[in-house]
């Protein structure tokens, strides 16, 4: 019926968004960014028992230039904040951030002078994975939720407006409905 009958075999019609998002979500390459004990669970997620490669994520890149996803696994100390922000700025668009564990999400038990009370004060976070530390199943669940989020994005909308590295990121294609608490480009606090 319609147009599909007139095109030859071997050609399928779809939307550009569906095509691009299909490609993007099946090759999300995470940046290996283990900061504390959550990194152990992240390593376990990659390894054979849980095998993150089932979702197209088998390569943890050591360079931010080759990474699409930053998994912040662990507490972020104030000394680490400029490093983390710089790595995030060096990642090419489109890019996503998963805040793994209680410490990265809100400071966790470390409510003190040295630890940032949530990585979302430094970079915009897409998915929060609770737990102390989260089990690999939880991290995989968070990744699958991120896939659903990627499916709803559009190539027509600019996902990230980033005039320079110091300003904050905005994501008009936000699907969670929850605004970022403080998507701030501040470096020093």
């Amino acid at each position: 019926m319609g147009l599909e009958e007139k095109i030859p075999d071997g050609i399928a019609l779809t939307t550009l968004d569906a095509m691009v998002n299909w490609a993007r979500k099946r090759s999300v390459w995470p940046l290996g960014f283990g900061l504390a004990c959550c990194a152990i669970e992240m390593m376990s997620t990659i390894a054979s028992r849980f095998d993150m490669a089932r979702f197209g994520m088998e390569v943890m890149r050591s360079s931010p230039r080759q990474a699409d996803l930053m998994i912040v696994a662990g507490r972020v100390s104030n000394k680490m904040v400029p490093v983390l922000r710089r790595l995030y700025d060096q990642m090419p668009n489109p890019k996503w951030v998963i805040s793994m564990g209680a410490c990265a999400s809100c400071g966790g038990i470390f409510n003190n002078y040295a630890i940032k009370q949530g990585v979302d004060r430094v970079v915009p976070v897409d998915i929060y994975v609770p737990g102390c530390p989260p089990r690999p199943e939880q991290l995989i669940d968070g990744i699958l939720m991120l896939y659903k989020k990627i499916e709803k994005e559009s190539v027509k909308r600019p996902l990230i407006t980033q005039p320079n590295a110091q300003t904050q990121d905005e994501r008009p294609g936000e699907v969670s409905g929850q605004p970022h608490r403080n998507p701030s480009g501040e470096l020093n606090k």
Binding site: N78, N112, Y113, A114, Q117, R121, N182, N188, K189
Partner: protein, 184 residues
Amino acid sequence: MNLSIDASFMEQSITDFLNNKFPGKVLGDYTYRGQFSLYVTADALYEIALALKEEAALSFDFLVDICSVDHLGKAWESEGRYEIVYTLLSLEHTYRFMLRVKIADHTVAPQSLCDIWHSANWLEREVWDMMGIEFKKHPNLTKIVTDDDLEGHPLRKDFGLVYEEPQFSHNHDEVLITPDNPNH
């Protein structure tokens, strides 16, 4: 090398050596679970440390660690608010003990031991960074552990917890996280 060194013999040797060479500078000894330590005066610490290293019968050639204690609010605070603990190790005699110094204030700190043991350089910087004890004649007493913007010395008892109110859904509006908020 005598691996089966008698600990009590070494304790007696150190005490006699320091009492003979620095009379009145050794204030007392303290043993906790077999770990022997001596309290010495702050003004003589440098000479005592140098002598402990150079005396062949002792030869404490390794400064393992420097710790500091804040006795603020304790009953014995009048003896000196801060206490600095130097852990020394003699590799030749396989024996370690501690030198302890009590000082009334962070400004009357003992002289830096960087000339004697190079490891003292970073260790004293850490003690200064976390406790604010200003070692005299230190070549580079600057921050080593805390971030550059942090003011104060976090391990002091009067530093404060720097507790930050967590933001939940029920107090989302009260605990606004903005750069202008002093709670931030």
